[in-house]
C-alpha cells in the first residue's frame, strides 16, 4: 500500500521516528525525553526489520517444509545488537535520572537550569 508516494510501512517508520524526536526535543521531563529516545529506537528497529522482509517469505529458520523464499537474517541480527545497545543506554540514563532526582528533587529540565 502506497501513501504520499511512499510505502505505508516506511511512512509508519517516519511518523514513529518523528514522534520520538518531538518528545526528545520538546518535553522538559527527563523521563519523557528518555521515552522519546526509546520510541525513536523502536522506529529504527522496525524499519530495519521491515527492510529485511520479503513478500510471502518464511522466517530464516531452515527446517523441513519451509522455503524457497526466506527473510533476510542480517537485519534481524543487527536489530538484536541494536536492542541490547538501546537497553544499555536506557539503563545508564535511568540511573542518572534517579541520581538527579535524589540530588535536586526534580527531573524537569527547566527547573534544573541554573541549579548548582
Amino acid at each position: 500500500m502506497v501513501l504520499f508516494g511512499v510505502d505505508v510501512d516506511y511512512l509508519a517508520f517516519v511518523v514513529l521516528f518523528c514522534v520520538g524526536l518531538y518528545m526528545l526535543v520538546r518535553k522538559s521531563n527527563l523521563l519523557k525525553k528518555l521515552l522519546g529516545l526509546n520510541v525513536m529506537e523502536t522506529a529504527v528497529f522496525a524499519f530495519l526489520v521491515t527492510a529485511g522482509m520479503i513478500e510471502g517469505a518464511d522466517p530464516p529458520i531452515r527446517t523441513a517444509g519451509t522455503g524457497p523464499l526466506f527473510a533476510n537474517p542480517i537485519p534481524h541480527a543487527m536489530v538484536l545488537t541494536g536492542i541490547v545497545v538501546a537497553v544499555s543506554v536506557t539503563a545508564v540514563a535511568l540511573a542518572l535520572i534517579v541520581q538527579i532526582h535524589a540530588h535536586y528533587g526534580t527531573i524537569e529540565v527547566d527547573e534544573l537550569k541554573g541549579l548548582p
Partner: protein, 247 residues
Amino acid sequence: MRWLGLALVVVAAATLMLGVADLPPHGAPDAPVHTHVGARYLERGVAETGMRNLVTAVLLVYRGFDTFLEVVVIFSALVAVVALPRGRAARPDDGDDRPPAASLTAEGPAQQLVSVSPVVAFVVQLLGPFIAVFALASLYRGHVSPGGGFQSAAIFGALFIAIALVQGRERAALLVPRGARVWLQALGPLSFALIGTVGWILTGAFLGYPADAAAYALREAMVVAVEVGIAVGGAVILAQLFMAMEG
C-alpha cells in the same frame, strides 16, 4: 525555543521522507539488501554452521565479534550504573533552598510497604514456573528454532523483575547467589572469551568453530555454551540493573 524544536522535527521528517521515497518497493525479493551477503548466508548457512536458525548463525558465527562486543556493552552499562555515586549521601546539606528534595527522601522507605494486589501475586506465582521453562526452552532450542540467548535473558530478566515486584527486592535478591554474583554478571563476556579461545586452539581463528561433520557434537556444545553464557549473564545483568535503580 518553541519553534526551533518543531522546525527540527519538520526538517527531520522531510529528510526521512526523501530518503524512504527512493527505497525499492517494500518486500521485493530483488531489493539490494537481499542480494548481498544475506543471500549467501541463506544458501550455505546451514551447511557452514550447522544451525537451522540463521539469525543465530549470523549472530554467533558470521558476526561473532559483533555479538562478543555487544555482550561487553551491556556489561559496561551495568558497571556504569553500579559505579554511579549514591545520590543521597552526596547531596550537600546546605540545600535548604530546595524544599522538594526533602519531601522526596521521606518517600523512600515507604515504597517497600506498598502491598501488591493478591491477584497480581497469584498470577506471578502461577505463571512463574511456566515463564522459566519457556526461557529455558528458547535458550536450549535457540539455534534450531526461534529463540536464543538474548531472548532467554530478556524473559529471565522480566521474570526476576516480576518476582521482585511481588515478593520484594530482598527475597528476589536471593535468586542470584551473593557469592557467585560477581562471576555470573560477567558470564556473557567470559563465556564468549573462553569459547573464542577454544575455537582459536581448534581452528586457528578466534571465535572459529570446527566445520567438519565429525565435530558436530563439539560445535553444538560450543554454541550452547555461548548461548548459556549470554542468557545467564544477560539475565543477571538485567536483574542487577533493576536492583541498582533504587532511588
